[in-house]
């Protein structure tokens, strides 16, 4: 209760203020820009090392401005930010925004309006990135990164099991059925404990393509994007398959969070679905591995996850001017944007930065990452599908995450999706 009080009072105050305001509610660019020098605080989920290069470059270019970075672990990030932003905590100037959450954060008055940068964003980023950072025709955050997913495979285990590994050619993409069969062979004679494992086994980001590839839709429909649609045939079929991979032991139950990557790095699984950041992380593992495009279902349509973090400014910040300078440098400036990707290997969202960055991906871990660049380019042009834009996305992700966890642990998928529909309808009642 102690914790609920200040948050509630301020949340109510903020909402009343936000709703009673002019159409330009939020903090328009003309508002008080604050001091020109000083220290700004930047909050995100990645390790501090990730942002050291961009902070260094920014400080060199802007003498008198210092940037301090605070890390909040991914699992607690959204809830902690919700608490701090609703308390109008001026201790946060800039923060990372997960793209599908832009709508709700903007609706709640947690983001400064950046619409005067609209033209620049239109030319410097992809159309998808441009769209997902908008809500009600206004620009609320600037895209920093983009992402995709790869199928990583354990070369040694597949060779031992006499399985020809998949190629990096997107035209010869494997199907999930092929992965399953090869994974079982690797478990029998390749020496791995498991056949297949997803890096974020309970995350909508990674599981959306399974259902969408079977024509199941994103799970959200309606004019206001507040109608659940997770009981389509595509969703049911995809979740049947997904639940069965755990029931049969192809994938392990009970391992989650940050314990998934090490399972592949230790050589315990034949196939692993992961992101560009893994291209470097797995480089230090002792096993021999390669990358291939993300599979789709037989007869399905190849689709891949996309999108990543954007940067936004807290309207409660008293240093709007400095915060803007940093956000613009880390996204709109190609060199600055590139600097955000030099430690953690993730795709820069700025198109000029992307052009310089993508070709390097082939060499992130020697010959093991050969083909990663071509896969990345192909997926972003042909198969990338964004997470749905809805003011109810935060609740959607929460409810679906729990449904995926239960399906993973053996609950009947059709019944659990029906349950999720009920929970979504309940959760969205308070939004409508």
């Amino acid at each position: 209760m102690k914790r609920l009080l200040p948050a509630t009072i301020v949340a109510v105050a903020a909402l009343v203020a936000a709703c009673g305001g002019s159409p330009d509610a939020g903090a328009p660019a003309a508002a008080d820009q604050g001091p020109e020098t000083g220290t700004i605080t930047f909050t995100g989920t990645d390790n501090a090392e990730t942002y050291q290069p961009v902070i260094k470059a920014f400080e060199a270019k802007n003498p008198g401005i210092k940037v301090t970075y605070t890390q909040i672990p991914f699992d607690q990030f959204n809830a902690t930010m919700q608490q701090r932003l609703s308390a109008k905590d001026a201790g946060i100037d800039v923060y990372t925004v997960d793209e599908p959450r832009v709508s709700q954060l903007a609706a709640k008055g947690f983001l400064t309006d950046l619409s005067d940068l609209d033209e620049q964003v239109k030319t410097k980023f992809s159309a998808t990135a441009y769209k997902t950072n908008h809500f009600r025709d206004k620009l609320w955050s600037l895209p920093m990164w983009n992402s995709t997913q790869f199928l990583f495979y354990n070369k040694t285990a597949l060779a031992k099991a006499k399985v020809t590994p998949p190629t990096a050619d997107p035209q010869q993409r494997w199907t999930w059925e092929q992965v399953e069969a090869a994974g079982r062979k690797a478990m029998q004679s390749g020496g791995t404990k498991y056949g297949l494992f997803m890096e974020q086994p309970e995350a909508y980001y990674q599981l959306q393509p399974l259902a969408e590839s079977l024509g199941g839709g994103s799970g959200i429909e309606g004019d206001d994007a507040l109608t659940p649609a997770v009981e389509t045939d595509g969703w049911k079929k995809a979740m049947q398959w997904y639940g069965a991979t755990f029931a049969s032991g192809l994938s392990p139950r009970g391992i989650g969070g940050f314990q998934t990557g090490p399972v592949f790095a230790a050589g315990d699984v034949a196939f692993f679905v992961g992101g560009p950041w893994d291209l470097k992380i797995f480089g230090s593992s002792k096993i021999d591995w390669g990358v291939a495009p993300l599979p789709d279902f037989q007869g399905g349509k190849p689709l891949t996850p996309t999108g990543s973090w954007s940067l936004g400014i807290n309207p409660a910040s008293k240093q709007q001017g400095m915060a803007r300078k940093f956000v613009e440098f880390a996204t709109l400036d190609a060199a600055g944007n590139l600097a955000t990707t030099s430690t953690t290997t993730i795709i820069p969202a700025n198109l000029d930065a992307q052009k310089q960055y993508t070709p390097q991906m082939d060499g992130f871990s020697g010959t093991k990452t050969a083909g990663a660049a071509a896969i990345t380019t192909y997926e972003s042009e042909h198969t990338a599908v964004s997470r749905p834009v809805s003011v109810g996305y935060i609740q959607f992700e929460e409810v679906m995450g729990k449904a995926f966890a239960d399906i993973r642990n053996g609950t009947d998928p059709a019944a659990r999706l029906q349950e999720a529909t009920r929970q979504l309808t309940d959760a969205w009642k308070s939004i409508k």
Partner: protein
Amino acid sequence: MRQRQGLIALAFLAPALVCLAVLRIVPAISAVVESFYTESLLRGGRVFAGLGNYTDLLSNKDFRQSVGVTLLFTVLVNPIQVVVSFLLAVLFTQRAAGARLWRTLVILPIATPPAVSAVIWSVIYRPDGLANGVLERLGLPAQPFLTSPSQVLPSLIVLLSWIGVGYWMLFLIAGIQEIPAEVREAALLDGAGPWRRMVSVVLPLVRRPLAFVLVADTVSNLLVFAPVQILTKGGPNGNSNLLMYDVYSRAYAIGDIHVAQAEVVILVALTLAIVAGQFRLLRGDQ
């Protein structure tokens, strides 16, 4: 003179009273008031909803399940922890070699933050973790632990007892050591065996600390949060969705602060009812 003394006493008490008011009483009142309101994110505006949030909660299947799970958990975890702490306290007050060392080992988990304990146990409970390793050595089949709807609550009880039992044991050890030596000697002279001495001498004489442990343990177990958040997120199928975690996820994940406030009020009422019941039972014994 006396009035002046009173003022001085009040001045000394003031910091505590202010904290009590600001940190406890005002939030409590605010929670009750806010639980009668509702607001829409899209349309905005805070509207008086009367008991709407409460009826919404009571008609919500997940909430009702959460109450059931919390009650089942309370009925199981408290007797287990109190009995085990009492037995350990009796054991560690015997004059035996290494008793102090053992006592220290049992108390040690208190020094570990709950979040760290939860992370340690997440590795123990993994399908290829320590617990299944031990079972395998004993020739027993592997267990699903946190991923099974029926084993998740017992698994959490084991984890929480590992943290809590040592702490509650300390109070009981202090109580046992308070028992006058003459009473023990008299019992010995009367030829009472160890069991008789424990049931007829020690147990009645540690009633006060035992009552405190029972009540304090019950309250702390009704507020369990970190292990659920870190290990199970309330699953599988809501079978570990304790009320405190449900409040948190409603307030900060789902973002419906008003319904969450109503749930807090219900949780406090439930806690008071259980504690009042315990006091009644304890008094009835006398």
